[in-house]
């Protein structure tokens, strides 16, 4: 297959890819995106643009991703099935592709109960597996879900999420296989703090030959403080921050905790670089974009 995007091209050349993350603003200020992109440009191959993450209303991921394109970086547009039915999903994908957006990450989305407007009705017309399939089918058959021939069908590089730290653990590899069957080209994982569990997951994925069918980008988020580690472990759905990481953060003086977080993150990236079946790293430095340059440089990825 001819590379569908620059991210695809890099991965297909067997190079270790780096993706970052850019959360759209809570409002219409495009400068917020431009500023984040300035910090990330040159250090990542593509940047994820989140879709009303944690169900907090923000600028749409399509519009924000279009701003990223204009700013000269390649976006990975996230799309959740929480807020759109299949009609809106297909239409948004066509629109996004027409705006130059070439990567998509297909997600279920955090439940609106966590968000800024918990009274909202959710949609969940199709699930994330069927979202992946929809994008794949549009790309490969040139038809929409009803079988209608599209004049130009979106040709997107399709990503999906995997959370090796969610339960039931045994099922997590089956789920990965299901997403690959549905058409996922690449996977970005939940933030890795529990490396033992991640290694076990990737070992099983390797054993089943899954890592040859899909590119896997391990997710990392540098911790800024011990408090953040505790918060993520307790409050963020599907997150697993082991005690020893929290203890390690607790063990250093408050003013040096961010440095310790960066150190832990660099060690994780180091391990990921060596792991069979891992093809890149996804750095989610949420509202801390400035740290990405340091991480990428010190990890020797630049």
């Amino acid at each position: 297959m001819k590379p569908l995007s620059r991210l695809h091209e890099k991965l297909s050349q067997g190079k270790f890819a780096i993706t970052g993350e850019c959360g759209p603003p809570r409002g219409s200020n495009k400068d917020v995106i431009d500023n984040k992109i300035t910090l990330l440009n040159g250090f990542v191959d593509a940047v994820n643009v989140t879709d009303n993450q944690t169900a907090i209303v923000r600028m749409s991921s399509i519009a924000a991703a279009a701003h990223v394109v204009a700013a000269g970086l390649e976006p990975v547009m996230q799309m959740v099935v929480r807020d759109r039915n299949r009609i809106a999903i297909q239409s948004d994908i066509m629109g996004a592709y027409s705006l130059g957006i070439k990567n998509i990450l297909c997600l279920s989305g955090d439940h609106q109960k966590f968000g800024s407007q918990p009274d909202a009705m959710n949609v969940f017309d199709i699930d994330s597996v069927n979202l992946i399939r929809t994008v794949r089918d549009m790309r490969n058959t040139g038809k929409d879900m009803s079988g209608f021939d599209l004049d130009v069908a979106p040709q997107m590089f399709i990503g999906a999420a995997a959370n090796p730290f969610a339960d039931p653990f045994d099922y997590r590899v089956i789920r990965l296989a299901k997403k690959i069957d549905a058409g996922a080209d690449f996977i970005q994982t939940q933030c890795i703090y529990n490396m033992d569990r991640f290694k076990e997951w990737i070992r099983r994925a390797n054993d089943e030959g899954l890592t040859e069918k899909v590119y896997i980008l391990g997710g990392v988020t540098p911790l800024r403080s011990a408090g953040m580690a505790r918060y993520m472990n307790k409050k963020v759905a599907g997150m697993d921050v082991p005690d020893e990481i929290i203890k390690r953060m607790d063990g250093v003086d408050k003013q040096y905790q961010a440095d310790e977080g960066i150190k832990i993150c660099l060690e994780t990236i180091e391990t990921l670089k060596e792991l069979t079946g891992v093809h890149g790293v996804h750095i989610m430095a949420i509202e801390w974009e400035a740290v990405v340059e340091q991480l990428v440089t010190q990890a020797g990825l630049k």
Partner: protein, 222 residues
């Protein structure tokens, strides 16, 4: 059964305030089982209302009656004389019962006294859980008898989301993850292979998405 819970007393007071004579009409089936609108609840509510109106120095005549089912014409008939004597009916039935009354007594005021919640079961004494959303196309067989359409907060049909941890759903530590239950059941049944089955987008046309539904049994039409 259909579950529901009685509306807060202050809301009920506001609903009945404009009327001098009110019939509180209980229903002896589902809402009785979930302690929202059976004979006992009718009696307790009637006393509470009488007391409240007395304290407000307002007069109100309250009559009590409970019939077997407000959703069936056959039983509704029984309420006819009571309805004729009153200005308004405060129905403690589910939303279907309230509407059946309103259809039958087209010129009467029918007020809802219960918030209807779901189709469910009494899982343990006093604990009711939602089990089915009447999607019109039951696929419990493949899910080991646990309904993800209803019991997964995201209606996921192809496996659990990334928020499932320690058997509970990401929305709340007191809510079991439906997919955890499905996997447990399929393990017990030796049907874990079902998990690998790809489930295509659901046809929601048979659910409320297709508009209000009607069930027609030609063989019973007279």
């Amino acid at each position: 059964m259909i579950t529901g819970s009685q509306k807060p007393i202050n809301e009920i007071i506001k609903l009945v305030e404009p009327y001098k004579k009110v019939l509180i009409l209980g229903c002896g089936t589902c809402v009785k089982t979930c302690f929202a609108g059976g004979e006992d609840e009718v009696a307790v509510l009637a006393s509470a209302l009488r007391l409240s109106f007395k304290q407000m120095a307002k007069s109100i005549d309250i009559e009590e009656l409970t019939i077997e089912r407000q959703c069936e014409n056959e039983f509704i008939q029984e309420a006819s004389p009571g309805i004729a004597r009153n200005e308004a009916i405060l129905s403690l039935a589910c939303g279907a019962g309230v509407q059946a009354m309103a259809k039958r007594f087209a010129k009467e005021v029918v007020l809802p006294g219960v918030n209807t919640t779901f189709i469910g079961i009494q899982e343990s004494p006093g604990i009711f859980t939602e089990e089915c959303s009447g999607c019109g196309n039951c696929s419990l067989a493949i899910f080991g008898g646990v309904c993800p359409v209803t019991r997964c907060a995201k209606k996921l049909l192809n496996g659990p989301c990334g928020g499932s941890q320690n058997g509970v759903c990401e929305i709340d530590p007191d809510t079991p993850c439906a997919w955890h239950l499905i996997i447990e059941r399929l393990t017990t049944l030796g049907q874990l292979d079902n998990l690998k089955t790809y489930i295509p987008p659901k046809n929601w046309n048979t659910s409320l998405s297709g508009g209000p539904r009607k069930l027609i049994r030609e063989d019973h039409i007279i």
